[in-house]
Amino acid sequence: MEDKYIWKKEYTLVLILNTVYILVFYYIMTANA
């Protein structure tokens, strides 16, 4: 079994980008409400 889970920079990128998407969605939603 793998005991160490190695965090890589691309995982951070995925999480940041998807947070940005959600912020963009929020902007689109409120700007056109």
């Binding site: 793998e2 889970y5 995982y11 999480l15 998407y21 969605f25 056109n32 409400a33």
Partner: protein
């Protein structure tokens, strides 16, 4: 459909099949056939993972979903990127290190043969059924709108997939999925720009968004904590992540895509690719649906988009009532067009009060239209209870067939059939692999040559292809079969994910406890579904937690009964 459409449709599909067969001819052994010789690069894996998940229904149904209910459906995917990161961290390194061919092989490594066999059988039951539905779902829609024979369409889709999947195995699936994704995205982008071009001259994209917003189609995020709302930010982040973890982490049709990676890193980057592009892709497909909605604000739309439903009611004693509803619908459309013009002009002049007034008018007309459509659905149900009244699957195809120019219709039909083929290919590939390796090879006594197992893999893939076509041909005999397959999936998925989580995170639990817990859990989940304990989607979580709890309890009892260790 014109001649040009037929040429583009047939040419695209035959090219994909031919190229898939030619490019991957001559697999030497099981390693080549099942894992594509472990040569796949990250972009191939990423596209393959996305093409596997996106079935024809994604491209038919999602725009219709946005047309009727807006873009809130995108929230369903919010948990997917988190699941991708977890799979990259935990699942992928382990699968690669153990050099497994299937996800269930890992279970034998961690527990025992019987747990592996049990998980493999659970997979075959649910995935075998859904492969048939992946073929059936677009066939029933295309046969309804184009008048094509349903069974012939089932056989054509199934046979095309069988040709290259049986011939080239996993490599053929990956190679063709790259082209299918290219066709799919090209077709969707072209359709999107055509829709924008069809809008009145003064309606720009920004204005189209304002129009969609005024009709509440851009309510993308819902932070409501109410559990009865189907798509909310919270259900997407939690339930969506849970489902994505089960699907991408333990379903062989997905696991096999990233097991083909040249290295662990290629596999991980492939999944990261999916984590980055999945939400924008779904957002874009929903946006296409919203633009179709804006288009129909200025152009006539039918009361119900399913032609089979309309003809069923028009041939019944409810025809007169339906005609009255249609008349009301037409009047509403004229009113709506006027209100939209007023809204658009007010936006242009930046007259705040008039904008709000026009917006209120649009909302009120939309409410009336919604009521009208609901009344039409009730009439259709009364006329023929077997006809599908929910027309969201027919909205986009109605637009394609009635408004897009010749040639583009063929391209968009190629998009739909390519999507059906890409999902089915992965499913058949996984079903063949599991049958050949997890059941046949592991349980059949005797020594056989590598070419024997290669033949067995091909034979099982062909067999599952035939089963899928048969299921698709008889699917129409059952009411609401798609929901039935979702229910069957939910009954098994939670249990299988629970077994994997036990394997990864509960190191003290051993095979016997897991096996007994999994069997008991499966019976309890089936019992719970039969007596309607909860909505079937919650069975996923219930099964997962139950198997973990029971396995830990059994392991604890087992260790207790064997007595404490006496230390010298």
């Amino acid at each position: 459909m014109g001649t040009l459409d037929w040429i583009i449709l047939a040419g695209t599909l035959l090219f994909i099949v031919g190229y898939g067969v030619w490019k991957t001819r001559g697999s030497k052994d099981v390693d080549d056939y099942v894992l594509g010789g472990n040569q796949a690069k990250w972009w191939t894996i990423g596209l393959s993972v996305m093409a596997t998940q996106a079935s024809a229904i994604t491209f038919l149904s999602t725009p219709g979903q946005a047309f009727h209910d807006g873009m809130g459906f995108v929230q369903f995917y919010f948990g997917l990127p988190i699941a991708m990161v977890i799979i990259c961290l935990v699942f992928v390194p382990l699968y690669h290190r153990l050099k497994v061919y299937t996800a269930y092989e890992f279970l034998e490594n961690r527990f025992d043969l019987k747990t592996r066999t049990l998980a493999a059988i659970l997979f075959l039951i649910q995935r075998g059924l859904s492969a048939g539905i992946t073929i059936f779902a677009p066939s029933i829609i295309l046969s309804a709108v184009l008048g094509w024979d349903l069974r012939t369409l089932n056989i054509i889709i199934g046979a095309l997939v069988i040709i290259y999947t049986v011939s080239g195995g996993t490599k053929a699936v990956s190679v063709t999925q790259k082209q299918q994704m290219f066709i799919i995205m090209t077709g969707m982008f072209v359709a999107f720009f055509f829709i924008l071009g069809y809008l009145p001259a003064d309606i720009t994209f920004t204005k189209a968004l304002k129009i969609a917003g005024a009709s509440e189609k851009l309510n993308i995020l819902d932070f409501d904590l109410n559990t009865t709302s189907r798509y909310t930010f919270w259900s997407g982040i939690t339930g969506g992540m849970f489902l994505a973890l089960a699907y991408f982490g333990t379903d062989q049709s997905q696991v096999q895509r990233y097991l083909t990676g040249k290295t662990v890193r290629e596999s991980q980057l492939g999944l990261i690719f999916n984590g980055i592009f999945k939400i924008p892709m779904q957002f874009f497909i929903l946006l296409v649906g919203v633009m179709v909605f804006v288009f129909y604000q200025y152009n006539p739309s039918p009361l119900n988009f399913n032609p089979a439903a309309t003809s069923a009611v028009m041939e019944s004693s409810y025809a007169e009532d339906y005609e009255i509803l249609e008349q009301g619908h037409e009047e509403l459309q004229t009113e709506k067009k006027m209100a939209q013009d007023k809204f658009s002009a007010a936006l242009e002049l930046r007259e705040y009060a008039t904008t709000i007034e026009a917006k209120q008018r649009i909302i009120s007309i939309n409410e009336k239209e919604k009521g009208n459509r609901e009344a039409a659905r009730t009439l259709i149900s009364k006329a023929d209870s077997s006809v599908e009244t929910n027309d969201k699957d027919y909205v986009f195809i109605h637009f394609i067939l009635n408004y897009l120019p010749k040639g583009l219709v063929g391209l968009l039909l190629a998009v739909i059939l390519s999507a059906a083929m890409s999902s089915t290919a992965s499913e058949l590939n996984a079903l063949g692999t599991i049958s050949a390796l997890d059941l046949y090879k592991r349980n059949k006594k005797g020594e056989f040559t590598p070419s024997h197992y290669l033949k067995a893999s091909r034979g099982f893939t062909l067999l599952w292809g035939i089963i899928a076509i048969v299921v698709a041909c008889f699917a129409s005999l059952f009411d609401n079969l798609i929901q039935l397959v979702n229910i069957i999936g939910s009954i098994f998925y939670g249990n299988v994910l629970g077994i994997f989580l036990l394997a990864f995170f509960f190191k003290f639990v051993r095979g016997n406890s897991v096996f007994v817990a999994a069997i008991i859990t499966q019976f309890i989940v089936i019992f719970g579904w039969y007596f309607n304990w909860m909505s079937y989607l919650w069975l996923n979580a219930f099964g997962c937690f139950l198997v973990i709890l029971l396995a830990c309890l059994f392991e604890g009892f087992d260790r207790m009964l064997k007595g404490p260790h006496i230390r010298a």
